[in-house]
Symmetry: C2
Subunit: 257 residues, 2 copies
Amino acid sequence: MTGHAHPLAVAIENRDAAGRCVIVCEHASNAFPEPWGALGLSDAQRAAHIAWDPGALGLARGLAERLGSVLIHAGASRLIYDLNRPPQSRGAMAERSEIHDIPGNRALAPETRLMRTEALYVPFHATVRAEIARRLALGLDPVLVTVHSFTPVYAGKPRAVELGVIHDADPTLARAVLAEAEARTPLVTRLNEPYSAADEVTHTLALHATPMGIANVMLELRNDLIATPEAQVEMADRLAPVLEGALARAANVEGAA
Amino acid sequence: MTGHAHPLAVAIENRDAAGRCVIVCEHASNAFPEPWGALGLSDAQRAAHIAWDPGALGLARGLAERLGSVLIHAGASRLIYDLNRPPQSRGAMAERSEIHDIPGNRALAPETRLMRTEALYVPFHATVRAEIARRLALGLDPVLVTVHSFTPVYAGKPRAVELGVIHDADPTLARAVLAEAEARTPLVTRLNEPYSAADEVTHTLALHATPMGIANVMLELRNDLIATPEAQVEMADRLAPVLEGALARAANVEGAA
């Protein structure tokens, strides 16, 4: 079923790592490979947050290293296909993002939507599902952690939150991350900000964590805090113990329930 | 990711059909192919309802033909891997089913569980996901219908229900099927009997319908009513209009909401 997969659809690192976290970064890349190309966007637009989550991959990789965890990330821009949206969503192949029109996404034919879906969405999520299924079969007790970044100013409004901690149906791990981040870091941390499941940003969690009954959390970092490789390393140093503490805390909550 | 798929993991029929239903039959087969073989079970045990859902594939195929719908079904017994269970579930590779021990499933090693998961579970659900994603990308507005059968007598107790109509989080389509079945057929029809989501029988719906936001229903027929090919044809004649009526009814409910 993956005969149509694009070579940049998905990459997996540290597959043999035994840590509990399965770290997923859907918006890791601002590459605009063939056959799609630049979608009519300028260099500046393709470098901006509308095309990807700047800093998220560096942070995700730093967390995977520190936690001994597998990392799954995408290789093409979210503007070609936003992997955190189902195929029927307008946001999957957005005609407009924030204040920018996306010329190459205007009035896409169903066949074009299908081609992108089969090239990028289907193989990406097949890989995440297979990796989680593999770890469940082996009794490794996986949890799903997705890593994102958000822009400090959206539609002209500055955002005070620095770390957003978002969950799908089960809030256990997200609440534990919030508590650990507040205890261990000076970051302005908020539950379900700047987005929440009601904004349809938990598609990956809903696909892979909720139906498998596994704990899950989506981390959203304000991208000015992870703008350089050095800052990403520093943030990974800061957040790896937060995740470790949260896993222990969530296990205690489950044990007491 | 499907390099380990068993050749009997999944079959798809009527893939080009444009009808809204995606019909799935997880327990279609009582085949015990190599490398697993009979799991130490007798011929009688392998013919019994513990190994498959007798009659379900014939009914599902009859519905797919009448509704112009795609059909996805499994080719190996549920006792090798129950596709309606996640890999960490005891029921995925059950050591015991009703009153029967399953010798070939006793104390399976993690590597054995992994091999079955990658051979059967991962490719089956990858195919269902890809087919639903394809139809969503094309704007075909799919709904998920799974077809099962249950034994008239379970653990010594007879069951009066003839048609069970089961849903995951969204009850809209299931309620519409219940109403249409009561209006159009003499079948003893019940919502969420003889099982419900609380019994963990809605894994396929939870994987493929709920996170995609599509309507879903699981049909459970008492297997004495679909024991022969003729009875399966008759039941398909009876239930196809029920599903058609239910889709129209559910669309009206959504439209009014």
